[in-house]
């Protein structure tokens, strides 16, 4: 309160001063009147009144001093002076402020991200007891698969480990309300205990009926997100008890989740599960699950129990469970995902960067201090007290640090915003990311301390030094130890920059290699669109087939369309993994028996993505529900099932009849004839070779949700809107499709590597800039220190080129040593990045060569200016010492 009044007073200083002046004048006039009334003459009364009030200016200042203590006042007066002094050496000021600002800004930005994404506890009850479950199969190199609902029931029964488990899966859902545009909504169908398990209740509404994972009610119920509630339903509280139409079926709205509740990430609708977990297959891995551990049970203990259980299950159900395990990971770790290692590595880098920035500024200040010894001596000689000098330099340093802090805040705010906007991958918990004031304060304090400690050195140094010497000689030879220390600092800066550059360059190379990796399809000018037919309106499977037939036919009529295909899975997106059998082949290993990916495509798909048929024929119009069951297999399956033989005409046994509400096989027999072999299309990731795959024809095994794949002439842009139009014409109730180029879809899988690469590159450039400033600073300092020596050399006939070489050699030596240290350190530290690297060795000579060349180039540029200045020195002036 006092502070506020003080502030208001200072801000209104002018008018308050006028108030006081008028008030005192009033006082004087009254006094004069009083004296006149007592019989004094007018003049004498005026003089006496004036005298009695004393010196008006002194009084005013005394009154003013109540509001602004004199020490503060004089600091205030020092600021314009300090500003002038900083403006006189702009390159120093810019270098120092840039270094401080970038250091503070990057440390703050990275920590803010780390804090929001990784460190802050999840907004659930006792989040440290929550784990995410995922099934694994080491033999098949599967690290993160969905759970089989039947296995889920077994895990749930581990009562000593779990207090509760909730499971969900992610259907494709369209939200259609009368009088509103149909949209596809991110939806999960979840067991009804999810919210209770997390400890979050809806902000309005009673939530689902039933609260155990076993409760299956036939009521269709849905809980919606705050986002959807505000965006589509205008935050109308009466939504509770009304119905929303999801995939054509009316669901009763039983809750609106609180704002910020975002689990699983991005979900807008939670449907209550209405089928029994037990009535499914152990081979179908598609459910997400979160468990709450019993108090005192660690994730490690839980994993031990789970391992024992899955081993037993593998023995009991060898056909489906051999080789399968399950893994419980702390929920916060799981959600942070790659961001945890990435941000921790970056935090280390940014802390180093801040340290280097501080050292750099210390370096610059020290250099400046030596250069200013004369100025300080002159000031001291004409009577500036030591305290006054200290305060002057203090003010300068304070200003420098303050400007750095302001720049740093700007850098932090802008870079966090930019990161959120431009990140190629969705950043988990993005809403939790705020500028961390704590770190900003810490970083600012660190820089203030640096600036102040090193800023005070000149004042202290001079008060110790002999004034006479300083005045007569100008600056001369500071301690040798100081110079080599500064040299070591610059080497450290360069090696850090080299380390970061190596990391960035290796990632760039990995990403480049991944991008060149063949997927087995030709993605250029191919556009994909999601099509989603609602269950209710398309209950009849022949209608589904008819719809897709019509869609394909209309699109094929367009002149700019080369090919149209349908598939339920795009490349790199694994299909349903199901067991198959080969009749008559005795030696089929169990692994083979257990799995191939099954997919459903139409006759146009392979052509549209340019995946050639190796042998046999494509699907045709006779392969329908009335025809005999046929499949096409990929090369990998052909190689495993019939090594050295032609698979054409052979039989495959496939028992699958339907996959949830998504798709149903219309043929009866389990025996399928292989009619063709298609080249491998990668179906897990860019890195791994294709798994065995079996393609059904969409006419025999239709799915409601399909990807439309269109190969266009030229670029695909006009096709995108054509697809939207055709879909609207065929069925106006369908949500607008999500249209992407196939290239974009395929690149999504390398986005995490790309993201880390971008961040590393940004940091590396920052570090290199700071290092260049460091080289520049130390060289120009030493050049200005050696002016006299250089002048003598030039006067004695040294060539300017020799002088230049001398300066540049010193800078390049530091850069070279830095490169050597940096490259070595990068070899040791490359393990941190192994997750994001592909087919690239840390010692890749091309990469390292490029980095070293770039660094030396920048270093050379930083040497050039001081080098030219040294060689351009005028000997006479240098010798005169001016």
């Amino acid at each position: 309160m006092r502070f506020l009044r003080r502030l208001v007073h200072i801000l209104n200083r002018g008018s308050r001063d006028a108030d006081l002046r008028e008030e005192m004048e009033f006082h004087r006039a009254m006094k004069q009147r009083e004296l006149e009334a007592a019989g004094f003459s007018r003049e004498r009364a005026r003089d006496a009144a004036r005298r009695s009030l004393g010196n008006l200016t002194v009084n005013r200042e005394a009154a003013h001093a109540v509001w602004v203590p004199p020490e503060v006042e004089s600091l205030w007066q020092d600021i314009p002076y300090a500003l002038r002094s900083l403006r006189r050496s702009p390159s120093f000021t810019i270098a120092a402020v840039l270094a401080l600002g970038l250091g503070i800004g990057s440390a703050t930005a990275v920590f803010s991200m780390l804090d929001g994404v990784v460190l802050r506890p999840l907004p659930y009850r006792e989040p440290q007891r929550l784990v995410i479950l995922a099934e694994t199969n080491a033999g098949k190199n599967l690290e993160h698969e969905g759970l089989s609902p039947v296995n889920f029931m077994d895990y749930r029964s581990l009562g000593s480990v779990f207090q509760d488990i909730a499971g969900w899966w992610v259907p494709q859902v369209a939200l259609t309300d009368p009088a509103q545009d149909p949209i596809r909504v991110p939806t999960v169908e979840t067991s009804r205990n999810l919210f209770r398990l997390l400890g979050v209740a809806p902000q309005i509404g009673p939530s689902f009926t039933g609260d155990s994972a076993l409760d299956v009610s036939m009521n269709l119920e849905a809980v919606i997100s705050d986002r959807l509630w505000r965006g589509r339903y205008h935050a109308d509280r009466s939504i509770i008890g009304k119905f929303v139409r999801l995939n054509g079926a009316d669901h009763l709205v039983v809750g609106v989740m609180p704002p910020g509740f975002d689990f699983p990430n991005g979900t807008d609708v939670w449907e209550g599960l209405n089928w029994q977990f037990a009535q499914h297959s152990r081979a179908a891995h598609f459910m997400g699950a979160v468990g709450r551990l019993r108090p005192g049970v660690t994730p490690e203990a839980a994993n031990r129990e789970l391992a024992g259980l899955t081993t037993r299950l593998g023995q009991e159900y060898p056909a489906t469970n051999t080789g399968w395990g399950v893994r419980a990971v702390r929920m916060d770790r799981e959600i942070a995902g790659v961001f945890r290692p990435a941000l921790l590595a970056l935090l280390a880098a940014s802390a180093l960067l801040l340290l280097i920035a501080c050292l750099n500024v210390a370096n610059l200040l020290l250099a400046r201090a030596t250069a200013r010894q004369r100025e300080v001596a002159v000031r001291a000689a004409i009577g500036a007290s030591r305290a006054r000098l200290v305060r002057l330099f203090f003010t300068e340093s304070l200003l420098l640090a303050a400007m750095g802090a302001v720049l740093g805040l700007g850098v932090a705010v802008v870079s966090v915003k930019a990161l959120l906007v431009w990140s190629p991958i969705q950043i988990p918990r993005a809403a939790d990311i705020h500028i961390s004031l704590l770190v900003l304060a810490f970083a600012t304090l660190a820089t203030f301390a640096t600036a102040i400690v090193f800023g005070l050195v000149p004042a202290l140094m001079t008060s110790r030094a002999n004034l006479n010497d300083a005045l007569r000689e100008g600056a001369k030879g500071s301690a040798k130890g100081g110079t080599s220390m500064r040299g070591a600092l610059v080497v450290a800066e360069v090696s850090l920059a080299v380390m970061l550059l190596c990391g960035a360059a290796l990632l760039i190379r990995s990403v480049d290699r991944l991008l060149r990796e063949s997927t087995g399809v030709d993605a250029t000018s191919v556009v994909t669109a999601t099509v989603q037919l609602p269950d209710v309106a398309y209950r009849d499977w022949t209608r589904v087939i008819r719809f897709y037939d019509e869609l394909g036919a209309t699109l094929r009529r367009r002149p700019d369309v080369i090919g149209v295909g349908l598939t339920d899975r795009l490349p790199l997106d694994p299909g349903w993994r199901l067991p198959y059998g080969v009749p008559g082949v005795a030696a089929v290993s169990r692994e083979d028996a257990a799995g191939a990916q099954i997919m459903s495509v139409d006759a146009g798909y392979f052509d549209a993505v340019r995946a050639p048929l190796i042998s046999g024929r494509n699907f045709d119009a006779h392969d329908d529900s009335a025809g005999r069951p046929v499949v096409i297999v990929n090369q990998e399956l052909a190689r495993r099932a019939w090594p050295g033989e032609s698979p054409i005409g052979k039989q495959l046994l496939l028992a699958v009849r339907n996959i949830g509400p998504l798709g149903t096989r219309l043929t009866k027999d389990t025996a399928h004839v292989v009619v063709g072999v298609v080249s491998d299309i990668k179906n897990t990731s860019l890195r791994d070779r294709a798994e065995p795959a079996i393609y059904f024809t969409q006419r025999q095994f239709p799915f409601r949700a399909m990807y439309l794949v269109v190969r266009a002439r030229g670029n695909g842009a006009p096709i995108a809107s054509a697809i939207r139009d055709e879909l609207r014409q065929l069925d106006p109730a369908l949500p607008a499709p999500e249209v992407k180029t196939l290239e974009r879809v395929l690149q999504t899988s390398i986005d995490p590597s790309r993201f880390v690469m971008l961040l590393m590159a940004a940091f590396a450039v920052l570090a290199l800039t700071i290092a260049a400033v460091g080289i520049y600073g130390i060289l120009s300092y030493s050049v200005s220190r050696r002016r006299k020596e250089i002048g003598i050399r030039l006067a004695l006939g040294a060539q300017p080129a020799t002088i230049r070489r001398m300066v540049v050699r010193r800078g390049l030596t530091m850069a070279l040593v830095g490169c050597a240290v940096g490259v070595l350190a990068a070899q040791l530290g490359s393990g941190l990045l192994s997750k994001f690297m592909y087919n690239t060795r840390p010692s890749d000579p091309l990469t390292l060569g490029a980095v070293v060349t770039a660094v030396l180039g920048v270093a050379l540029a930083a040497c050039a200016v001081p080098g030219w200045r040294a060689s351009g020195e005028d000997p006479t002036r240098a010798l005169r010492g001016e």
Partner: protein, 110 residues
């Protein structure tokens, strides 16, 4: 500013000003006059200490100031006691009386 007001015990100036403002709002000159009159010319508030003291009271929020018209129709700055000022007056007065009593005790019995 301290050298003009040795006639007052330290801290009593604030007390006197606050006390004069209890009945009505006053301008600086009025305060000085009132203190002098009431003390029968014993206490004279130097102008050089009056105005810093008033600033201090303003800073602490014990009085507030506004411009008004004086008895002879000139613009004058009037000070009014605030609620916090009234509390402060009570506290300072108790403190003052305690000290005066203490001094009297010493003078009487030492």
């Amino acid at each position: 500013m301290a050298d003009r007001a040795p006639e007052l015990l330290p801290g009593t100036l604030d007390l006197l000003i606050l006390r004069t403002l209890v009945r009505e709002r006053m301008h600086g000159y009025g305060i000085a006059t009132r203190v002098r009159e009431l003390s029968k010319d014993v206490l004279r508030v130097g102008e050089s200490s009056l105005y810093p003291a008033l600033q201090r009271l303003l800073l602490n929020g014990w009085v507030k100031a506004e411009w008004g018209t004086s008895e002879n129709n000139r613009r004058a700055r009037y000070y009014t006691l605030t609620a916090a000022g009234k509390q402060q007056l009570v506290a300072e007065r108790q403190e003052f009386e305690r000290i005066v009593l203490a001094i009297q005790n010493v003078l009487q019995f030492a």
